[in-house]
Amino acid sequence: MESKLLRAALRVWVALVLAFLFIPIVLIVLYAFNQSNIESWPIPGFSVHWFAVAWNDPQVRAAFLLSVRVGLLATVLALLLGTSVAYALHQFRFFGREAVSFLLVLPLALPGIITGIALNSFFSFTGVQFGTLTIVAGHTTFCIVVVYNNLIARLRRTPGSLAEASMDLGARGWQTLRYVMLPLSATALVSGALLAFALSFDEVIVTVFTAGAQNTLPLWIFGAIRLGQQLPEVNAVVTIVILLTIIPVVLAARIAGAGAVTRSARAI
């Protein structure tokens, strides 16, 4: 369909973009082996001891665990709330529908710093203690949007007749949801959840304003960057995180990717 020349040109472009995307990542891994704690080029010497430092650092462990906990909580909440609002907006026409879908874009469309300072003022004003829950509250807000967006896109492509057919066949509402709608939306939910978790895990700006004295991993990294003495440790930690996430990401891409294959094969 596309000319050979075009395909070749596209391949070159893809390679260049991939290089662009991954050079900084490669540098992160490279500098994790930096002997010196100040980053400069060329690297004066190599050492693996920063990995040991990172592994044994209780602050890193605590920050990592907090990030995972916050991410899981935020993603689960986002799945529940995002799914219900997506179904509601997909199925029903009601007064204020446009307003609600506009509202749902805001957490991602408005800069994070605004969400951050707004929540901070709100929590201070209502006297809520800053802690894990306030962090989760901030993250959940934009995670809901991510899940919602993924799901509504999928739902819009699902013919409404499927649900009706299921009902005609005698299924209750709940059964329809469980045996018909959810499997259809599975890929959207998985990719939405994955993206939501990724965003929460790496979130800095909103977290800066909603955390108390504790650190999530990004906050710990920010502190280490301020200090300027532990940079290779930061890189070691990030390298470990990337390694840890390759497998789930590949798996999820397979699941979401499979859906993509079937969709593109269908000609309307």
Binding site: S36, I117, N120, S124, F209, G212, A213, N215, R226, L227
Partner: protein, 409 residues
Amino acid sequence: MITTRTRARIRLRPAIAVGLAALSLAAAGCSSGGSSQTTGTSGTSAAGQTVPTANLPVLQKIGKGEGQLNLIAWEGYLDPKWVKPFEQQTGCQVNGKYAGSSDEMVALMKNGGGGQYDMVSSSGDADLRILYAGDAHPVNINLIPSWKDFFPAFQSPPFNTINGVHYGVSLQWGPNVLMYNTKDFTTAPTSWNVIYDPKYKGQVTVPDNPIQIADAALYLKTTKPSLKITDPYELTQTQFQAAVSLLASQRPLIEKYWDLASQEIFDFKNGNAIVGAGWPYQVSTLKAAHFTIGSVVPSEGATGWADTWMLAAKAPHPNCAYMWMQYISTPKVQAMQAITYGETPDNKLACTYMDQMQPGSCAEYHANAPASYLNSISLWKTPIATCDNGQPDCVPYADWVNAWNTQVK
């Protein structure tokens, strides 16, 4: 970093006036001119000024540690070298949040109405703001044995002791130094003029902090005596404008105003900057990485800071906090911190330990505190509208912030 509406009303103006007067006392009685000399001991607060938390009961006995300690600190103040032994001895895990400026510290303390952090290593210009906002808790200084060995000037200084009530324990103090790459400056510079010299365009760096205006004022004090600047923190409109103009003219020389200590470290190491103003922390870090860095307090003097570990009003872990105050005041730990960071300890006995750890360091960091050194440093304090002579025509800090953001940067 975030503020909230605090319940207590703060009236800082007279309080800071007191702080000014009494800080001049702390400078060994011979302030560098101008500020009115007050007799008497640590500042009496002016009429109507009370610290909202002054009457809170102090801890009588240190109980069992709570297992955690949340500290707000300058970068470099929580080095594992002394934090790890503390954690092992007391079982209090230290969680540190770094702040790069006094304002940030004040904001962090207020964040969420307090109750997050136990202590903050604030400098003189933040202390009174924290105190009068009601964010500090009275401290039972008798529970800190090393306090008796402090230099008298730092035992009950007016920035952390009001009406005999202590709100923290003095920590260390030091200058904002002139840093230079020894490869580019074979002899050490003797004047601040190098950071205003167009010869070094694109290679100068200074802190991104409105208080830097005081550094400019300090320089003008010597180089433009007609302005009659006496205290770099008390500037009339004319003096202020002159300082701001100097900084505005410096702007083309600067590639980056550093916000984080690590930025200055990175810039010197990579050759983005060869001269600039910085903290001793950057110097020590670069020296430890065997970089060709030098530092000096030039002839015009330097601004500086005196830090206190201040106890938060709603500290969640008071026992651990007291244990920390005890620990950080002991001569050996004071010596360790002084050498590692590059500052001057408040504990007289630290000197011997410093020379043990690093011969010559006691004199190098002025731990034997000659008065002449103290006089050459203008310690940070918050500029307010009322000058020391009582005239209301000095420029307040809010204007410093505004000028810094709109005219200098």
